[in-house]
Amino acid sequence: MKGKEKLLEELLSSIKSHSHYSQDDAHLEVDGNKILASATVPGLIMDLDETENGIEGEIRLKAGTVIEKPVHLCFGMIPENGVQKINLNVVLEEDSKVNFLTHCTFPNAIELEHIMNSEVHVGRNASYTYFEKHTHSNSGGIKVIPKTRILLEEHAHFKTEFELIKGRVGFMDVDYRAECHDNSILDMIARISGRKDDIIKIHESGWLRGRHSRGVLASSIALRDDAKAEVFSELIADGDFAQGHVDCKEIIQDRGVARAVPIVQVNNPKAHVTHEAAIGSVDSKQLDTLMSRGVSEDDAVDMIIKGMLRRT
């Protein structure tokens, strides 16, 4: 058994981070079911317990608390095999604001499962930003199954970005569903690169039930070899003046297979939702332009895909 210090060092080096947080940095590092390190700041409560396979508990931001610096979260597993289950309740009380910078890292995975079940409640006029970056091994022997239920109260703002472009995806089944009340904003972005026999499933759904609620569901996926992706993006607009947009871009190469199902349902004549889906090979005009500058076809394809998956 490795000591906590050693595990922490390995965990952080796998995400090219360091452990030298200053006193006003809130952070949490978990390997499997071990909380390796944590620190909090005034107004942020992390009430977490270790369980048989992971951790569970609540992260709560007290009313009016604004944390300017990102809160660093790192969930991972250094071993090659095992299961990690994270059960989290996240509550942002009214007028609070937080930006989570999250790494999920499984650098040695051969047969691993990472199961995340969370409920996020963003209170009135609160703002929640969650950037989740995955680092996986190249074995493909990992299953990532995150499931999140989100409730946005009036004037709440929720933004999540999911990025998995380093290492193999393995099997991934994302399920995010959000309920949006008056004047709230939902913004969900996914950027994923799959190869070999990776399987990517995304089900994201936003219920724009409030007046002036707004939602954007965007995904950019690149597939090569025999990778497969299936993206269900659903926006249902009930509220007066609710607005939404679903955007799905998928570039496929080799024998990759992509399926995009944008579901747009508008139950109110004052609401407006649009969708756009583009699936196919690399855009020929982009390719021709780069090749006309002397860039080889392979390098041009690489550059275009990296651009599509870049955080902008």
């Binding site: 005009k285 982009q286 090749m291 006309s292 002397g294 550059m303 651009g307």
Partner: protein
């Protein structure tokens, strides 16, 4: 260098003759304009010279500095010194202007990007990290495309409808850049249906239904173009009957 010669160039697409037996020796280091109405074959000619995938199976030959381009694919031709500016430049989400300019640059560096952007009248600090995407106007993208071409240091630049869809300020910069290319002894081929663009060239060629129906100095070609091509229905063009 930068001599482009077409030898009895014929291109058929779907069994239709789009370029018909063209023999042209473009003026080296000069601004050449290929004019004609829509459907004359001008853009096809540029794409055939550039070597776009659907335009590789031509009859006759295209020579760059006496080297045949037959069988050479797009990046190979670019490496030989030919490049192209599109009528509607592509958008690239997530690719910063600096990376785009450096992609084909002779000398990849921030200095190259700076010089190239300055040439087209755009600020390095303001544009280097912007993405070549829909957040840029059509004029900005055209200028950035020309900046990337300049950084390549090519021998021949093909420009398809250089003034299309851009504002007056951008047009002025575009023509300054064209003059700059000429000053560097780069051969420029302007593809245009505009008499105004033809006026800016040193020499003109008129295409009609894939045929070369005239060539000469700009003034002569302008007279012909204004007198015979504007408002002309291709089928009624007297040359069409003669040449077929």
């Amino acid at each position: 260098m930068g001599s482009v010669v077409l030898k009895e160039l014929t291109l058929k697409l779907d069994n239709k003759r789009i370029l018909n037996n063209l023999s042209i020796e473009f003026k080296k280091g000069k601004i050449n304009a290929v004019v004609g109405q829509n459907g004359a074959g001008k853009s096809t000619l540029a794409q055939t010279i550039m070597g776009l995938p659907d335009y590789l199976n031509f009859e006759g030959d295209i020579l760059l500095d006496t080297v045949s381009l037959k069988g050479k694919r797009l990046p190979e031709r670019a490496k030989l010194g030919i490049t192209m500016a599109w009528q509607e430049p592509a958008r690239f989400s997530g690719i910063p202007v600096g990376d785009f300019i450096n992609a084909g640059a002779d000398d990849r560096s921030s200095d190259t990007v700076k010089k190239a952007l300055t040439l087209v009248g755009l600020s390095y600090d303001k544009y280097k990290n912007r993405y070549v995407d829909k957040t840029l106007s059509g004029g900005e993208r055209k200028r950035i495309e020309l900046a990337s071409i300049s950084a390549m240091n090519p021998k021949v630049v093909l420009m398809d409808e250089p003034d299309s869809g851009v504002d007056i300020e951008a047009v002025s910069y575009i023509f300054d850049v064209i003059q700059h290319f000429k000053s560097r002894n780069i051969t420029v081929l302007l593809i245009t249906h505009s008499a105004e663009v033809l006026q800016r060239a040193d020499y003109g060629y008129i295409l009609c239904n894939g045929n070369l129906i005239g060539e000469g100095n700009t003034e002569k070609m302008l007279d012909y173009f204004n007198g015979n091509c504007i408002n002309c229905d291709h089928v009624n063009n007297p040359f069409f009957e003669v040449l077929h």
